[in-house]
Amino acid sequence: MAPKLGTLMFPGESIDDLKTDKNGKTILGPGLRRTYAAIHIIKAGILQFKEPNEYWIESPEKRYIATKGDSVIGIVTQRTGDAFRIDIGASEQASLSYMAFEGATKKNRPDVKVGDIIYARLQVANKDMEPELVCMDSTGRSNGYGVIRDGGFMIKCPLHHIRRILRPNCPLLKTLGDMMPYETAVGINGRIWVKGRSTIETITIANIISDSEHCSDSDMKTFVKSRVHALSGLH
């Protein structure tokens, strides 16, 4: 069966006639699995395609599955000899080395306590090994990663909502930013940290983000505006 893009696919169905790049390769993303005979759908969701040759299934999950290169928000749960244990909401806790921070040396250890929120990147993630996090890029710079301090608030969202927020054409964060200044860190593991100018603003932003899950892109502007205007009476 030729792939019908943007339609709902069910587990067990198979697709073929996939587009390839000039080397004859196709990239299969989450929800698709190649067996000897065909390419099968393994979870219910919408079939998506990106030029030239990427296919995947977009589905409304809640459980995060660690993937290499993802930027995630984790909570420090334990300090061991040479690494921290971080809860990233996946099936296993991730480890974060003391040395994986900008400017960290054996003598100069980073100031991280149990309970801190950390924005980090997954360096190692596969099904057979414990995931490993780093708080710097390949050049050794922090590049925005590290411990998130100075208050703010972290909320949890379903994964598909996070992926939608991170899409370049999503109007949510932009519309919010036009109306009030705030800081945010979006982890693809279903966690968002936000901080506004005051506690009330922080709560409002957090509520708007979590409530916008069922709001379409076209209604987003009106939705955000009405919620922010409702806030003005509270000051």
């Binding site: 587990p11 067990g12 409304p60 999950e61 099936s91």
Partner: protein
Amino acid sequence: MKIPLPPGNKMSSSSKSQQLKGKMHLLSQADGSCSLSVGQTAFMAAVYGPREVKMNKEKVDKAVIEFMYRPKVGQSGCGERFWETLVGNTCETAILCSLHPRKSVGIIVQELQNSGSQLACCINAAFLALLDACVPVRYMVAATCCIITEGSTEPILSPTAVQEENAIAHMTFAFDSVDHNVVCSHTTGCFSEDQFQLCLEVCRKANKQVFDFYREALRERLSGSMIEC
């Protein structure tokens, strides 16, 4: 626990199975959940995982399926344990366990009301919750059951508790969604091989309705989550 049906609610037509009703994504803490009812029988299921597993249960090459059956009243006994194994194994055949080694997938099914067709409803509820949790599966699995009564040649599909009392044999079959092959079969009572084959084919035919119901439920579930835009 058997509840007598209200008068007038008699499903005697063997060609028409009872109406399936259900809703997905009800619980906030579980990764996947659903409630499902067939006639007067109702179940609620929740799926957690893939999550961490205890050291002694861990399997190095695949995920462990931890199935739990909670009866409406009292503690789960020997019969419930048997069902846990049966439905757990049925789910395990469909789940791609090798994709999550050293993990577990917890499935909890709570009986809300039992009024016949219990095992079939239990399997369907468990699987609908698995679909809601987006656990990777080879195919969808759905179950249908039927009974044979004395003197009647035609089996009765999705029987009520009252009908089950008069049955001489009770059969439950689970099929996959691709080739409609049998995944699980559970029978009680006395019957001939011909009767078994007849029931199997009747159930196989009726099972397509359950898959249609799955598809409809999933479509409803996804339309609320704004994935398409």
